[in-house]
């Protein structure tokens, strides 16, 4: 998904690290089909989501050469256009596809600007701007991740029913995390959690976004 960006910039002290919040067997076909040159890591227990406060995919963090977060977790160029797709055929209209591509291209252009200009890029936040955009954990979200860890372990032991209860508890403690809810949800034949329950949960958002709006001009 990020291959062309990586290929164009890999000689410029830039790297993509892709983290699958997923079990290896589910992530494997996607990684093997894409064959990206950058590290593709498997995070069954959502450790990176726990560490960074990541609640949906794709969310991304920009980290500079000295390890400083210059853009905290944010939606990495996805749009909410999918909410209006045909929920049976999963088809989107041409206008919806165009909107999705437009948002993605604005985000990728901002990323390229940072690669080109470094800290002089207007997309790099000052420390106070970055802090203001953090979504900090609380005791419940920390507990949610402990229950998620337990759920994934129980699933690996074939204790599916107990795992389901642990996923449910995790989601109850951290309801804004789509990652936790979808990891625990039933998957359809294509491996995606797009059941009627998913759409009901999306519809319950009302005017609130599924993918948080990206704080970049033009999006």
């Amino acid at each position: 998904m990020w291959q062309s960006l990586y290929a164009a910039n890999k000689s410029r002290d830039f790297v993509v690290i892709a983290v699958a919040l997923d079990v290896p067997e589910a992530a494997r076909p996607w990684i093997e089909a894409a064959k990206p040159g950058y590290p593709c890591l498997i995070d069954r227990d959502h450790a990176v989501a726990d560490l960074y406060g990541i609640t949906n995919v794709p969310q991304a963090v920009w980290i500079d050469e000295v390890g400083r977060i210059v853009r905290p977790p944010e939606n990495a160029g996805s749009s909410d256009a999918f909410r209006n797709m045909d929920r049976v055929t999963k088809q989107m209209t041409a206008a919806q596809i165009e909107e999705r591509q437009r948002v993605k291209s604005v985000y990728v252009a901002a990323l390229q600007d940072w690669i080109d200009k470094g800290e002089a890029s207007r997309f790099v936040y000052s420390a106070s701007e970055a802090r203001a955009r953090l979504h900090l954990p609380n005791d419940d979200t920390a507990r949610a991740h402990a229950h998620l860890r337990l759920a994934q372990y129980l699933l690996g032991c074939g204790r599916d029913e107990e795992a389901k209860r642990q996923f449910a508890e995790a989601s109850r403690l951290h309801p804004e995390s789509w990652n936790i809810w979808r990891q625990g949800a039933d998957k359809d034949a294509t491996g995606t959690a797009t059941s009627p329950e998913f759409w009901a949960r999306v519809d319950a958002l009302g005017d609130r976004p599924y993918h948080r709006t990206i704080d970049i001009d033009g999006i």
Binding site: M1, L41, L51, P58, Y153
Partner: protein
């Protein structure tokens, strides 16, 4: 048999004992299972030592065992167990996580790729890193 999940480790504790909400494990297994070590000054991890109030020492240590659930609560960290209380997940402290993020220093992590090779974030110091999450679901 009790299993303790902590960071990337899964530790089997044959001699562990559960009493209500308390999980007691052999002191000798504490470091493997939790990353913390019992020392005269308290419970230590790296340079950090957390003392135990002397009046409450018996709540934390007894007869060669450590009360891990009590320790975890003392550290302000999340903990969860399964219905049979045989699997325990030791989680993070929200305030420690929050302090790390507010410092804007990207927290390090170690994760495997599909082949099982381990990668960590800090190995990429000197580069801009676009850390991006995804999932099949």
């Amino acid at each position: 048999m009790i299993t303790i999940l902590h960071d990337r480790t899964e530790t089997k504790c044959a001699d562990a004992r559960v009493a209500g909400d308390d999980l007691w494990i052999e002191t000798a297994q504490l470091t493997d299972a939790t990353g913390w070590t019992l020392k005269p000054e308290g419970f230590c991890q790296g340079d950090v030592c957390v003392p135990v109030p002397p009046a409450r020492a018996a709540e934390f240590t007894h007869d060669g065992a450590v009360n891990v659930s009590r320790l975890w609560a003392h550290l302000g960290r999340a903990i969860a167990c399964d219905d049979t209380r045989s699997v325990w997940a030791l989680g993070a402290s929200a305030s420690e996580r929050g302090a790390a993020l507010r410092a804007l220093e990207a927290p390090d992590f170690t994760l495997p790729d599909l082949g099982g090779a381990l990668h960590n974030l800090h190995a990429h110091r000197g580069k801009k890193v676009f850390l991006v999450t995804w999932a099949s679901w």
